[in-house]
Each structure stands twice: as C-alpha cells, then as structure tokens.
C-alpha cells in the first residue's frame, strides 16, 4: 500500500509533467512545428474516447457480461469506416461556419435556433454529468485501493477535481475565441492516450504471461468454470444478440456525438487529410487496448477475485501478487484515462453552456459592463462547475452503479441527437420544429426509461405511491414501456427513444414549414461542398446596413475594413452588389462575431429589432473591441506562421533558382507556369517572356520532338541550335506533377561541355590504340619496303626496256607513297617519347613560315602574322613545328586558287593561344567533327588521313587543346591552346 501523501505527490508530479508537455507543444505549434498538427497526434487524441470506463470498466463488463464490452469499440470501428463521408463533411461545415460545439452545429443547421441550442446543451449536460462523475469515481476508488484508506478518497476526489478544473481552464479557457485550436491540450491528451495504452498492455502481459501461460491457458481453464457462459453470446450467455446490436449502435453514435469527441475530432482537426489516417489508426488503438481485457477479466476470476469487484482487477491483481510498482503504474494509466476525459469534456460542455445559456442571457439582460472579462471568467467558472457537478454525482449516485452502467446512460443520452444531426446533414426536409420535437421526446424517453429507475435504485426517488403505480402498470412501466417486455434496459430505451425521436422529427418536419433562415442554413449544411445558393432572405437591405450593425460591435474602422476587404476580395463594387453577395457579406459578418459570441447570439445581433440604447451600444462596443483585440493576437500568431511559411517558400525557391538545372512547370495545356534562372541561361529566354507561353514554342530541338505528337515522359537528349551560338546538347526530363496538381515539371541540363569531354576522351583512347597499331605496322612493313625500294632503285640504274623502265618507275612511285604512309604511321606511333625543352613559340612559327614560303604552291597565298611576345615554355620544338607545318599545308590544300593565312599568337591565363585561319573552302558540320579522326581525309588518295590526327595527338601530349571552327566556303580556323606551366603540373603529378 502507498501513503496518501506519496500518491498525491505522484498525481501532482504527473499533472506538472502534463502541464509542461502541453506548454511545450503549444510553443512548438506556434513556431510552425508539425509536432501537434499531424495525423498520429490527431488519432491519439481521438482516443480520449477510452476513459476510465475502458481502463477499468471493460474488465468489469467482461467478467460480468462477457464479450459485450467489445461493442463499445466495434461500434466506433464501424463508424470510422464512414468518416470520410460523414466526419469530413462535419469538419468542413464547422470550419466554414466557425462552429465549435455540437449544440451550435445542430442549432445552426436549423436556422441558428437559440432554443434548440439551449435544449441540446441542457440534454448534454444532464446526460454527460454522470460520465464525468464516472471518471472521478474511478479516481477516488483506485486512490482508496492503493492507499487502503477509503475515508480519504472523497478529499482526494475533491482535490483532484479542482486540479483538473484548473488544468482545463489553463489550456482551454485562456482566450475568448473558442474556434481556435488548443494545440497544447490536444498534445497532452495524445500523450495520455499513449500512457494509458502502455499501462494497460503492461498489466495484460503481466497477467497473461506472468501469472498464466498465455491466452490459450487462460481460455481453456476459464471454459471449465461456472463463468464459462461469458465466453459466448446468445440465449445461454449473459448478453443477448439484441443487446449486442444495441450496444454497437449506441457506441457508433457516441463516437460522433459525445461533446468531447466532437471537440477533438472536429474542432481540433487541423487538416481533413488527418481523418483519412485516423480511420485506421484510431480503430487500431482500440484493438490494442482491448487485446488483454479478456485475459485480465478471466484471469482475475480464475485467481479467485470477487466478480463484483471486477472493475478494479487491473489494480487488485498486481497488488495481491506483490507487484505494487506495477499497480502504481496502472493507477497512473487509469488516472490518464480519467483526466483526459474530464479536461476535454468539461471544456466542450463549458463552450456549449457559454454559447447557449450565458451569452444569450448576457445579451437579453443587457449586462454588458466588463463584457470581455465577464465572458472569460464565466467560462472558467463553468468549467470548474461542471467538473464539480460530476464530482457531486460520483459521491451521491455513482456508488450505486458500475462504471459501464453510468457510461452507457451517457451513450443513450447523446444518441438523442442522432436523428436531427445525421438526417440534418443529408435531408433537406428536416426543420427546427421537427428537431425540437424529436429531441424533446427522445430526452423524455431517456429520463423515463433509464434515469427514473436509476434514481429509484439510488434511493433519491422514494418507492411507493406513484412509482409503485407506474412500475406495476402494463402500459407505463419504465422498464417495459407500452407493454414491450423481454428487452434489456439499453435496447428497450434505445428502441423507444430512437423510434419516437425519429417519428416526431420526420412527421413534424413534414407537416410544418421552414423559415427563410432555416432554408438558408439547410442549403449550407446539406449542399456544403457546392457553391452557396442563396436568395430567400430579404434582409439586410444594403452593405451600409451590415457595416453599421458590425460597427456597433467592432468599431467603425474595423467594420469598414471588414466590409471593404470582403468587397475587394470578391471583386464587387459597393453600389452594384447583388442579393446573393449581400447575404454572403452578412454571413461573413456573423462569422466574425460568432467566434467570440457563438453563432446563435451572433445571428441574433443581425436580426431586426435587436436594438440597444446608445449607452449600451457604447459599452458593448468596448467589450467586443476587446474581444477583437484578443482575436487580433490570434491573427498576429497567424501572421507569424505566415511569415515562417513565406521564409520556407523563399528558401525552396532559392534552392530551385540556385541549382544549375533549368526547371519549369507546365500546366495541362503545356503553358509555362514557372521558369527559373537557369532556364534563362540555358534557353536564353527571360522568365517574363516565357510565362504562359506553350513550352513547345520555347524549346524546339533538332531531334527529337519533345512535345508532339504525344508528350514524352522521361529523359531524352536533345540537340539544339540556338541560332548564332554553337550547337547545344541538352538532357531533358519531363514528368507529371504528383498529388492533386495537374501538369508537368520540365528539368533541363546543358550537357554540351560534358559531351565534349566524353568525345575528347573517346578520341584520345582511339588515338592511343591506333598508335600502337601504327607502330607495329610501320615496323613490319617499313623494313621489307626499304629492301624492295633498294632493289627497284638498282634495277632502274640498270639498262631496261622502255616497258620495264616505265613499270619500275610506277612501282617506285607507289613504293614512295607507301613509304610516306609508313613514315607517317611511324611519326604517329613515335609521338610520346620526345624530349621537351624550353622554347619560344615565335621561333617555331617563323621557322615553319621560312620552310614553306619558297614552296611554289604558297606563291598565291599571303601569310600574315600577329605574334605577341610569349615566355618560353617546355615543348617538343620538332613536334610543334610538325603541327604548324601540317596546318599550313592543309590550309594550302584548301586554297588551290590562293588566299591568305593568318597566324596569331597571344597568351593569357596561363595559356598560349595560337590561331591559324585561312580563307579556304572550309568544311561542313559533320566533316568538322571527324577531322581529327585517324585515316579520315577530305583529299582522296592524296592524303593519308593522319596529318590532323598527329596534330591532335601532339597537342594533347602537351596538355593543350586544339579546336576547329569552320564554315563551308568561308574558311577554317584552328585554335591551339598550350599551357605555360605544364612542366610544373607534371612534376606535381610525377
């Protein structure tokens, strides 16, 4: 056993931890973190459904009534399958209309009926208070079990109720605008859901595997006991199939209509997408928390625990088995389950009470002094008041009933809302009178069939007299109403309650008319996803009138700003606004006030006849301005988030703008919607010129056609001639945008340089291979050829016939040609081993010019030089002269009718640049690419095709580059770049 002081310390420490977690989460949320706004936290927060009833009561129910406890979780699982249809629509409507409670939702659907809102709130408070009491009862009882002192539990309950009330006030009622999300509170609830799940599974594992040998062991042994009927359903078991079905239906309704579930699933929802994940995560949570219910219940009975104490098996078993620390952890788990429910439920109910009772009362009494402070303080008092109402119930009535009995009464109570809520979402025929009639009848049946018998049992209603009469009556008996016998109490109450509720809702709706306001709201709710189709109300008459009404509450400046912003946003002129837009403006103005005052009172403000005296207007205006200031704070937070979002957007854009890849987005018709800077660099078109232009007009490739006939998705290489510049090679990737956006993303990379390097590498490799081949060929052919040549020379020296001489001369000529080829091959093969010495390039050029200037074929050619003084650097002078000579001879061959050769030498950036240009025939694009290939020649049999290959190899061997720029019939230019400090590089590499 633990001392009360120790246990209080634990509770206090836990609440402090909870407070810190909530505070931390709230701060993270303000910073824009997704810690709170994510589907996992949302799903865990939905598990506020699992209260101490689940934690303790499920085991109690399983021990007493077998499998029927599962209906409480199978119902929500079934309902979750419909959430994408139902819950999503509810969330959408609530966000659009700033609705924050279930009473406001139903009241708003039926024309913002204040009476209906009050009626629903009244039913909810009456129906849910026992449920709140159930939680406190569980806390008090478990406190007694752990301390072994039943006397102190009331004080513990009182203190804990106060602490929880303060916690709910702190995180739920710090602002007046209740339409804001309570991120800290939601995260704390999610944390508590995790704690109670871990705690329950811990005790489950302890019982199942610590005290028994697993599930089968427990089940097999239990089957032989007197309680074996609890393993089945039906006539022989403790639960009928009808009760099973009724309970499943009740829990389906509970997950939708319990005020706390409405709070976490609708009000606290930050994204519709979270619903989709919660549809399976939440049922999975329910599944996990129920896995060990049966083993604990059956195990407890097998261990001899009393069946009537089964609600607390999870505590009593570890205590009796001598594991007090586990019992303490279980207590914390149960405490988590209870506190989460109390906090969220009291918050949700307080909002309902405020919007349905307090605000209208303030309005009608015109008690508007210190309006802001009064609203906030009243809300805080209501929260604490509701918690203590539950405490009172737990003290005076709760002890007569099991946890499950109390919880199910609340389930039956909220099912009263089902017809007007669900049919109101999809059936346009339902009206306010029908809803009121249905709810009144449903509530009456609930009181009559469930609460009166309960009060009688608790002794609050005395037996005898009228009670004896009605209970003995065939027709009026609350447990067998209208003579209907044989049903369990839940099925009986549900049957009559739902039947009569539906009957009155439908029949009264069919036989009575709707008001204009109801018709308008019906359209908003039933056709929620469609554009608003209004036009039935004849009020208000003008924009000025709306502005004037709004000005009374938020001031003339605020009203003018609101109205002008609305007109500007929708592009409407104040003078020419039509009736439909006027109604939308009115709706916007109502929404503005409904966040603080509730939709009913906000609607009331805009009704005719809601006039105030001048003094009242001033005071109310001051108060609402303060509320607006509070809303302004929220707007500042929103602005901060917007700023963070803008920073994130800027960062993302910066990345896209900085990458060296061209990125563009296209819409479905291939029009450019985004065009980054790199795109401009690559394609040469400014963003302003590219936007909204079809991409195939901007990006035309030589091959292939990118966008026609069908769009090519994937990666292609595209050759593009941008006009005056050199040809570009682009890698183009076109892919569809993912998600909801339609269109394409186009990514372009300029790979011209990369391709050039690849080609250089390929050519160098080819030259090396051919060089090896040439060395072998020149050696193997050169030697026999020299011998043949000598013999032919000797034969020619001897006297020959005319035929013989001519033949030998021809042979000799061809031998010369072969020898020249072999010599060239030898030159090609012997390029690398030469010695490099410091040389001035000017001297080599001048030496080369001297070699050719007396050649008769150069007579018609002018040789012009423009040679800068360049420093000496290490090269092979013979090889370099061979390069220059080859280039000059080629130039000569290209100008058979004469022309000019210009030679220039310059140096900068560590390179010496030599340019040979001629005015010859030039070559076309295809030929230009092949000129450096070995054995490629444009001179027919006159050339060996090795001259330029040799030049290429020599320049590469010197670490330089040789490029050709030639236009057909306009001449050719060779550009040679040689590094000045190659020797230094070679030393370093060596």
């Amino acid at each position: 056993m633990f001392s009360p002081v120790f246990l209080f310390s634990i509770i206090f420490a836990y609440l402090v931890l909870l407070f810190l977690i909530a505070h931390f989460a709230e701060r993270m949320d303000k910073k824009g973190s997704r810690l709170v706004s994510n589907p996992y936290v949302y799903s865990l927060s939905l598990a506020v459904y699992c209260t101490s009833w689940t934690f303790y009561g499920s085991v109690g129910k399983a021990a007493n009534a077998g499998l029927s406890f599962l209906t409480i979780y199978l119902g929500p699982t079934l309902m979750a399958a419909l959430w994408w249809l139902v819950l999503r629509k509810i969330v959408y409507i609530c966000k659009e209309n700033r609705i924050t409670t279930i009473s406001d939702f139903i009241a708003s659907r039926y024309g913002n009926s204040l009476f209906l809102s009050a009626l629903i709130t009244f039913v909810a408070v009456i129906g849910i208070t026992p449920y709140l009491g159930l939680q406190l009862k569980a806390i008090m009882h478990t406190f007694s079990i752990l301390t072994g002192q039943p006397g102190g539990s009331r004080f513990a309950g009182w203190t804990i109720a106060l602490l929880l009330g303060i916690f709910a006030v702190f995180f739920g009622a710090r602002r007046v605008d209740v339409s804001e999300r309570h991120s800290g509170l939601v995260f704390a609830v999610a944390f508590e859901s995790a704690i109670k799940l871990i705690a329950f599974i811990s005790v489950g594992v302890f019982v199942t595997y610590g005290l028994f040998n697993g599930f089968d062991d427990i089940f097999d042994r239990f089957r032989l006991t007197e309680f074996a009927a609890n393993m089945t359903l039906g006539e022989e078991a403790n639960v009928s199939f009808l009760e099973w079905t009724s309970l499943t239906f009740l829990s389906m309704m509970a997950i939708m209509f319990l005020p706390r579930q409405f709070q976490v699933s609708v009000v606290e929802n930050s994204s519709e997408k979270h619903i989709k994940k919660a549809m399976w995560l939440f049922p999975l949570y329910l599944f996990l928390i129920n896995i060990f219910v049966l083993p604990i219940a059956y195990g407890g009975l097998l261990l001899g625990e009393p069946q009537n104490n089964a609600d607390y098996f999870v505590l009593s078993i570890p205590l009796k088995q001598g594991v007090p620390m586990l019992a303490l952890f279980i207590f914390i788990g149960g405490f988590s389950a209870a506190t989460a429910m109390i906090i969220v439920e009291s918050l949700a109910l307080s909002t309902m009470v405020m919007n349905s009772f307090v605000m209208p009362a303030v309005w009608r009494m015109k008690a508007m002094k210190s309006f802001y402070a009064m609203i906030l303080n009243t809300r805080r008092i209501v929260i604490i008041g509701l918690v203590f109402l539950g405490y009172t119930f737990a003290i005076y009535i709760g002890e007569f009933y099991s946890l499950v009995n109390i919880g199910l009464k609340s389930f039956e109570a909220v099912t009263i809302f089902a017809p007007s809520f669900l049919l109101g979402l999809y059936w346009k025929g339902g009206n306010k009178k029908g809803a009121i009639a249905g709810i009144l009848v449903g509530f009456s049946i609930w009181i009559y069939t469930l609460i009166i018998p309960a009060l009688l049992k608790a002794g609050i209603i005395a037996e005898g007299g009228v009670m004896d009469y009605i209970f003995s009556s065939t027709f009026l008996n609350p447990t067998a109403l209208f003579g209907l016998k044989g049903l369990d109490q839940w099925s009986h109450s549900l049957f009559w309650g739902l039947l009569l509720n539906l009957f009155f809702y439908v029949s009264v709706s069919v036989f009575t008319k709707k008001t204009d306001a109801e018709t308008r709201q019906t359209i908003i709710f039933v056709d929620s996803y469609s554009p608003l189709k209004l036009g039935l109300s004849n009020r208000p008459k003008s924009v000025d009138e709306i502005e004037m009404i709004l000005a009374e509450y938020i001031g003339a400046t605020g009203a003018a700003e609101t109205v002008n912003r609305f007109l500007r946003k929708n592009g409407i002129a104040r003078d020419s606004i039509d009736h439909e837009w006027l109604l939308r403006l009115k709706s916007e103005a109502e929404n503005l006030l409904s966040g603080a005052l509730g939709p009913s009172i906000s609607n009331l403000i805009f009704q005719d006849g809601a006039y105030l005296t001048g003094d009242e207007k001033v005071r109310l205006s001051d108060s609402v301005k303060r509320i607006s200031s509070s809303l302004m704070l929220s707007r500042q937070e929103l602005a901060e988030k917007n700023r963070q979002l803008a920073l994130l957007k800027e960062f993302s854009e910066n990345i896209i703008e900085s990458i060296p890849l061209g990125v563009a987005t296209l819409d479905e018709s291939l029009k450019v919607k985004y065009w980054n800077k790199a795109m401009k660099t690559i394609i040469g078109i400014d963003q302003s010129d590219a936007l909204d232009i079809e991409a195939d007009l901007l990006l035309r490739c030589l091959e292939p056609d990118l966008f026609t006939p069908a769009i090519r998705e994937g990666e292609v290489t595209c050759k593009r001639n941008p006009g005056s510049g050199p040809q570009m090679i682009l890698k183009v990737n076109l892919s569809s945008l993912t998600g909801d956006q339609a269109g394409y993303v186009l990514v372009i990379e300029d790979i011209t340089e990369k391709k050039k390097i690849e080609e250089d590498l390929f050519r160098t490799t080819k030259h090396a291979s051919i060089g090896r081949l040439a060395a072998g060929v020149s050696h193997e052919i050169g030697n026999p050829l020299a011998s043949i040549s000598s013999l032919v020379q000797e034969l020619l020296a001897e006297k020959q016939s005319s035929f013989g001489f001519n033949s030998l001369s021809t042979i000799n000529m061809h031998i010369d040609r072969i020898a020249r080829i072999v010599r060239n091959l030898g030159d090609f093969a012997r390029l690398h081993p030469r010695q490099k010495v410091s040389t001035n390039l000017r001297n080599i050029i001048e030496g080369t010019i001297n070699l050719v200037k007396y050649d008769k074929n150069f007579r018609k050619i002018d040789i012009n030089t423009d040679i800068e003084e360049t420093p000496e650097f290490k090269i092979d002078p013979d090889q370099m002269q061979q390069v220059f000579l080859n280039l000059m001879l080629n130039a000569r061959d290209a100008m058979p009718e004469g022309g000019s050769i210009s030679i220039s030498i310059s140096h900068n950036n560590g390179y010496v640049k030599t340019i040979f240009s001629d005015t010859g025939t030039g070559v076309d694009y295809e030929t230009r690419d092949k000129l450096f290939d070995p054995f490629f020649t444009t001179k027919g049999t006159k050339g060996t095709g090795l001259g330029l290959s040799i030049c290429y190899s020599i320049i590469k061997d010197h670490g330089g580059t040789i490029e050709i720029d030639s236009v057909k019939d306009r001449g050719t230019k060779f550009i040679i770049k040689l590094p000045l400090k190659r020797e230094l590089k070679e030393e370093l590499e060596g």
Binding site: L67, L70, L74, T77, L78, A80, A81, L82, W84, L85, R88, K89, F219, R223, A228, M231, T232, L233, G234, F241, W244, T245, T248, K276, K277, M279, W280, P283, L284, F287, I291, L294, Y529, D740
Partner: protein, 52 residues
Amino acid sequence: MLLFAVGAIFFGWPIISIFDYNLSKYLFLAWFIFIVLIFIATSYNKKGNNGG
C-alpha cells in the same frame, strides 16, 4: 460505405452466433482484418479522391 456494410455483417448476428466458445478469437481476428481493409481502402484512395 461498402466497408461499413461488410463490418456490420461480420460483427453482427447471425455470423457471430456460429462461433460458440471461439467467438472471442473470431471477433479479434475479424476486427484486425477490418482495420487492415480500412487501411488499404484509405491508402488506395489517396490519389485525388475528393468525393464525398
């Protein structure tokens, strides 16, 4: 909607009446399968489902 109907059938009478003492095993198995089906259905509908 179809999923809900499937669940209502598998968790309701008369199917649950045929399992006798193995009912709890059946219910937990069917429950888990039902959750997996919801998971598959929601994952399958992720792309562009706005209908409701």
